[in-house]
């Protein structure tokens, strides 16, 4: 199993969610986050005082999937979150040792 974490542009969330549903993803966790990468921040000007806003708002998705699903999921995210401009985000993939559904006690891929 894999845990896929993707950081994307906030306004792309709906498109990504649709693309993930289309490939059969059953659940995702979404968090509003801030951060910076190569896009860096932007500046804001208040009565002549210029402030550099280092951390930009992004959306973080976490999706637990089976090994055979993971390629399709990564592809779905990378296509739907793409604008081609700097700041589109990143996808991180990690091995996932165990999953348990709390209600039934199911474990492993049955719990996904």
């Amino acid at each position: 199993m894999k845990l896929i974490t993707a950081v994307i542009k906030p306004f792309k969330l709906d498109e990504v969610r649709e693309a993930l549903s289309a490939v059969g993803v059953q659940g995702i966790t979404v968090t509003e986050v801030k951060g910076f990468g190569r896009q860096k921040g932007h500046t804001e000007l208040y009565r002549g005082a210029e402030y550099v806003i280092d951390f930009l708002p992004k959306v973080k998705l976490e999706i637990a999937v089976s090994d055979k699903m993971s390629t399709k999921v990564i592809e779905a995210i990378s296509k739907s979150a793409l604008t081609g401009k700097i700041g589109d985000g990143k996808i991180f993939v990690m091995a996932l040792d165990e999953v348990q559904r709390i209600r039934t006690g199911e474990t492993g891929e049955d719990a996904l």
Binding site: E44, L45, Y46, R47, G48, A49, Y51, V52, I53
Partner: protein, 437 residues
Amino acid sequence: MKKILSKFGLFSFLLLGLTQISMADSHVEIPAIDSGDTAWMIVATILVIVMAIPGLALFYGGLVRSKNILSVLMQVFITVSLMSILWVLYGYSLAFTDGGNMNAYIGGLGAAFLSGITADSVSGTIPEYVFVTFQLTFAALTPALIVGGFAERIKFSGMLLFLAGWLTLVYLPICHMVWGGGLLSSWGAIDFAGGTVVHINAGVAALVLALCLGPRIGFGKETMAPHSMPLTMVGASLLWAGWFGFNVGSELAADGTASLVMINTQVATAAAVLGWISMEWLKGGKPSMLGGASGAITGLVAITPACAVVGPMGAIILGLVASIIAYWACTNLKAALGYDDSLDVFGIHGVGGIVGAAGLAILMAPGFGGVGYGEGVTMASQLMVQLKTIGFTILWCGVISFVLFKIVDAIIGLRVTAEDERNGLDTTSHGETAYHS
């Protein structure tokens, strides 16, 4: 205002005397209360309260960081309350009664605790209690304006003591000198609704405090962006609307001059909004909400002393010029001098007040659509009087504010600890948090 009015008062008093003599009337003349004037003045008084709370409080509140919004709301709210009480204890008396030998500088204590005033007392064409309350709102608002100069680092108890002293030693004398028949009115100074008494006074005091207290920790290095521009916009709009009570109410009557003040207040403010955002645009930036709000307050400040003597076209010119100069003061001047007047009280109220008080001498000329000059007065002589009055106010307020700062700072201190400042005044001074997430 009060100068023009007192002249009228004197005139009608003489007229009344003459009529009484000629008609040999045995009736005792009771001054008449005008119900229209009274109704308007009650509404105007409430409008000025709305200017201060919530208007000014929200305008300032949105401009600070989220850890300090409650402290600023509290500083304005409690200042308004404290000044209201001081006003009826001795403020009104010192500002508006005869001070005998000292009358050039300060009034007397004859009406302390409002003694001698009843529901039947009359001031002009309105009950005296209405006049007392209307003037109370000015005395409550002016110290509250200073809050913007020391926001985010002031010690609450020290602030209350300082502002109580400031009302007594700066506001009341200047108010008496301009409106209570003192020195500045005898010079012929024109200050219809408070360019010197309210705005230059508050602006200079804020600058002195900002310089004495020193900048906020991290000033110029850390981000100190306003935490809520929507709150600031709501506050600025309440100030704008409430200002009609302030300016139009200063006529103390619902008459033709009141209508001139009304139109002038609106167009000067609108012109200053457009002036400020144009400056931002021309300087290569973006037209901002803060620019619009700052322009509005600048225009309101600038037209305040001038609103009964200039015409609407003059008001537009005044608003535009004031916004351009205040923009320069808040950006270039402040950056060059390096002081941390947190919310630009000096840049907006001080500078806007100076431009308005001086500019009215020029724009009141009939050629600009103004009401013209008094007998024997020229544009140059009026301008000299205005400049002298401005200089006098800056000196009086600056010196006394400085001395008062040193005294209060020595007694109970005026700045919170560095740790409290870092954590924010909301929790450390007031034990509350504005936003829970």
